[in-house]
Amino acid sequence: MNWADLRWLVPELVLSAAAVLLLVADLFTPAERKRWLGWFAVASVVPAAASAVILLGDLQALRSPGVRIFSDTYTLDAFAVYFKLVALGAVALVSLVSLEYFPGRTPHLGEVFALLLFAGVGLLLMASASDLILLLLSIEFVSLSSYLLAGFLKRDPKSNEAGVKYFLYGAATTGVMAYGFSLLYGLTGSTSLYDIGPRLGQAGPAVYLAVGMALAGFGFKVSMVPFHQWTPDVYEGAPTPITAFLSVGPKAAGFAALVRTLSVGIPLEQVNWPLLLAALSALTMTVGNLLALVQRNLKRMLAYSSIAHAGYVLMALAAWRSPWALQGLLYYLLAYLFMNLGAFFVAMVAADATGSDEIPDHAGLSQRAPWVAAAMAVFMLSLTGIPPTAGFFGKFYLFAAAVDAGLLWLAALAVANSVVSLYYYVGVLRALYLMPPATPGPLPVPAGLRAGLLVALVGTLAAGLYPQPVVLFVETARRLLTG
């Protein structure tokens, strides 16, 4: 092992150090000062993100598509940096709003933030893992932190249920995935994705079985049908900031790992995985949307909507032959970060006011908190894919990829699904704007939430109105990953 290679791990090291420090500091922080730990968590994301950006600059200076270190187990390229930044954004924003959510609900404030940072470390590793073992470990790292966070409110039975359910589903799918990985190892004699690809040889039933089983693990992380059943219960039961985190952080990292595994490890010529994913994409978006239609609980609705969005993103893998596919996937996950986090933040504001997550109970929010309601309108329209929002440009990108790859049927199905989704997203706006408030009077919004909402809102609008910088970035990332 070359110690100099450690410099490529600076973002992970910074975040790990911060998490450990936070745990220690927690012991010596009096209860009334615990909020400082949250600010520390938010602040620690900044050097991590900055170092990731600097590493990207180093890569460009080396004119290298990416560096592989530790016997090819770990790859740092523009693709990985992109996902690291998305993951860090999620950690920072969720920590910010957790500052307002957890005090008063749990005395163990320090642990929330430490776990968030640890989950963040796992996400950073997932984006770079290019070896089956590291992949498995990093996914488990994220999962274990997430199980704890989902069940963190131990006096709340729903939170408990969420934690346990998440754990059981996660454990089972990880087992299946590990078995699939072991098959891949058995077939090729290597755990490195870079070796598996060339050695896979002629595809037999064993290869398909291995790929299928591996998909179970990734499918669990990104809420792909049929591995999605945990999503609504966990989303509903987990503390709302954690739900927000689960919906964007592990999902994005899951896609990163899935993309790297398939594009590097499983040659298209041997296994026609785009076709398989086209079917799964169609299934995922349709099931998610149809079930979202009948939800009255905002968090459950967003859970099914997140399944549907996983379906849209999977379109990119189905349309892999188009250069637009990967770019679309990357762009979409950034857009999704902003709009979905924003939606959950509004859900927090609204639930604080009404003590309920039921959509009709949010009636008249536009009269009580006009800016929050306006932000929610932007998020809902963005999730539907109405311009000029980031969600629209993301869908535009993905539809374009599908059309370019000749998958008109899939694009048409996605269109139909988007129309269906309008109904339930606008259902929220209907409550917010069309229905009168049950109790009048302005609604206070805590500062941390306000800041989180503002970032999500500006991100959703800016990435939609002027996507050019992101487009250039994702184009570079795509070139580097797929050559």
Binding site: P387, F399, V403, V415, Y423, Q468, V471
Partner: protein, 502 residues
């Protein structure tokens, strides 16, 4: 001076200003909104002296890079077709805002949405990049959803979501069509530039794909127009929308559909459109007759006007289908140009006349009688002489009385279409008879006969109402008697299109 860009974004700027005004100060919000609407109207008038009347191509182009990485740019321009529709939009927005001074419920949001809507509509007419076009196309949906949903009638929520869902289906189908066009440009030259795509017609000769793209665009525009049988959202939306919303919906939003047919479907897919022209003409004729018959059966005045829109938009589509059918037959080029002139003229005429009709309904319903039942009135002209004169003029204009604007448009449509698709045209002429019948019958029931004592003491039009209605009536008469200046502008585009379709 980038006059198009200024015209386009003035309302948006106004919306931003309104956003930061205190919501309690309703009066200031109204005046600021009116100020911006007027400024936009003036800006759009300033396009006229800059416009070169000898040029048939799109002109006054303003462009800037936007998302060059995927061939998307900000590009706007006007030709005869878009210019007149832009003027219609800015004028009717002013009048709608003025009329809406009486709205007291959530004034800030109302005015803000109106300004947002205006930018959306103007953008559709100005845009010369398909991506930009699509953004504005969708931008019109959101404000209208809220306008219907918050300030509408008793069934507003249903009508609002129905409107949104219907139009979104069409829009997304069109988006796929746009993407098909884009990806059939040669790699390396891919662009969403409308003029470039029109020049290259990337899907020409691709068979099935051209068909799919054509129907994608068709669905979007046909729902918007709306053509029979895609019209079912219209009666709900029109009836439930607040008066000014109905005005904009009828006068401008429906035109987005016919504009799309003329601007895109005709020159992009001439072969495919030609193939299906008779089917489209058939649907148009059904719309004409069905709309007229259903309007006749209405007792709700607002519904009656709504269905008369289905009827009138049918005439426009008849002319467009005729022009499409004339593709490849140079001997019919003149007739096609006449039909297209008629189609555009009818878009304007319907905008002005039906806009006025919805205002007429609003004036009587919103704060005088709170009923729109045709049977509930009688002898109203004697009580309200000014109101009666305005209403009856608008209704006469709508039924196509010579000397008023509607007649010019319908005359051109029938003359042009008859040489190309005589049977359909003859059938459509039947619609004129029915339209005349139901409007005359309506006039008789509302304005003539014995005065209903319930309404004996209604006040006549006040000054603000005069200001909203009289300009429209003047335009109906002026362009009914002397349509030449308008036709000269419109004809630029029609002859250009026909030259492309030869």
């Amino acid at each position: 001076m980038p006059i198009l860009t200024i015209t386009l974004f003035l309302p948006l700027l106004g919306a931003l200003v309104v956003l930061f005004l205190p919501r309690e100060d309703a009066d200031r919000i109204r005046r600021v909104t009116l100020g911006f609407a007027l400024a936009t109207f003036v800006a759009s008038l300033l396009i006229l002296p800059r416009f070169e009347y000898g040029r048939r191509e799109i002109q006054l182009i303003e462009q800037a890079a936007w998302i060059p990485a995927v061939g998307i740019q900000y590009k706007v321009g006007v030709d005869g077709l878009s210019l007149v529709l832009v003027l219609l939009t800015t004028l009717l927005t002013v009048l709608s805002v003025l009329y809406s001074f009486r709205e007291h419920h959530r004034v800030k949001e109302y005015n803000l949405l109106f300004l947002l809507l205006e930018t959306g509509m103007l953008g559709v007419f100005f845009a010369l990049d398909f991506f930009l076009f699509y953004v504005f196309w969708e931008l019109t949906l959101v404000p209208m959803y809220f306008l219907i949903g918050i300030w509408g009638g008793p069934r507003r929520e249903y009508a609002a979501i129905k409107f949104f869902l219907y139009t979104l289906v069409g829009s997304l189908a069109m988006l796929l069509g746009i993407l098909l066009l884009y990806f059939h440009l040669p790699a390396g030259q891919r662009t969403f530039d409308v003029l470039e795509i029109l020049r290259q017609r990337p899907l020409a000769g691709t068979g099935l794909l051209a068909q799919l793209a054509f129907w994608g665009f068709f669905l979007s525009f046909a729902i918007k127009v709306p053509m029979w049988p895609f019209h079912t959202w219209l009666p709900d939306a029109h009836v439930e929308a607040p008066t000014a919303g109905s005005v904009i919906l009828a006068a401008i939003l429906l035109k987005l559909g016919t504009y799309g047919f003329v601007r895109f479907s005709l020159p992009l897919f001439p072969e495919v459109f030609h193939q299906h022209a008779l089917l489209v003409a058939g649907l148009a004729v059904v719309g004409v007759i069905y709309g007229a018959l259903v309007a006749m059966a209405q007792t709700d005045l607002k519904k009656l006007v709504a269905y008369s829109s289905v009827n009138h938009m049918g005439y426009v589509m008849l002319a467009v289908a005729a022009a499409a059918y004339a593709y490849g037959r140079p001997e019919l080029a003149d007739a096609a140009a006449t039909a297209l002139n008629g189609a555009t003229m009818e878009m304007l005429a319907h905008g002005i006349i039906t806009g006025a009709l919805f205002l007429v309904v609003g004036v009587i319903y919103d704060d005088r009688t709170h009923t729109r039942g045709v049977e509930d009135f009688g002898g109203l002209w004697a009580v309200l002489p000014k109101y009666g004169a305005v209403s009856i003029t608008a209704m006469f204009a709508s039924l196509g009385l010579p000397g008023l604007m509607g007649f010019v448009a319908e005359f051109l449509i029938f003359v042009g279409s008859f040489s190309i698709i005589p049977v359909f045209t003859a059938l459509a002429a039947l619609g004129v008879v029915i339209t005349a019948a139901f409007f005359l019958w309506t006039i008789q029931r509302i304005f003539l006969g014995p005065t209903n004592p319930r309404w004996a003491h209604l006040p006549d039009l006040d000054r603000r109402e005069m200001w909203t209605l009289v300009p429209l009536v003047v335009l109906m008469v002026v362009f009914g008697v002397y349509p030449k200046p308008l036709l000269d502008i419109i004809n630029l585009t029609s002859s250009q299109l026909v030259a492309m379709l030869r």
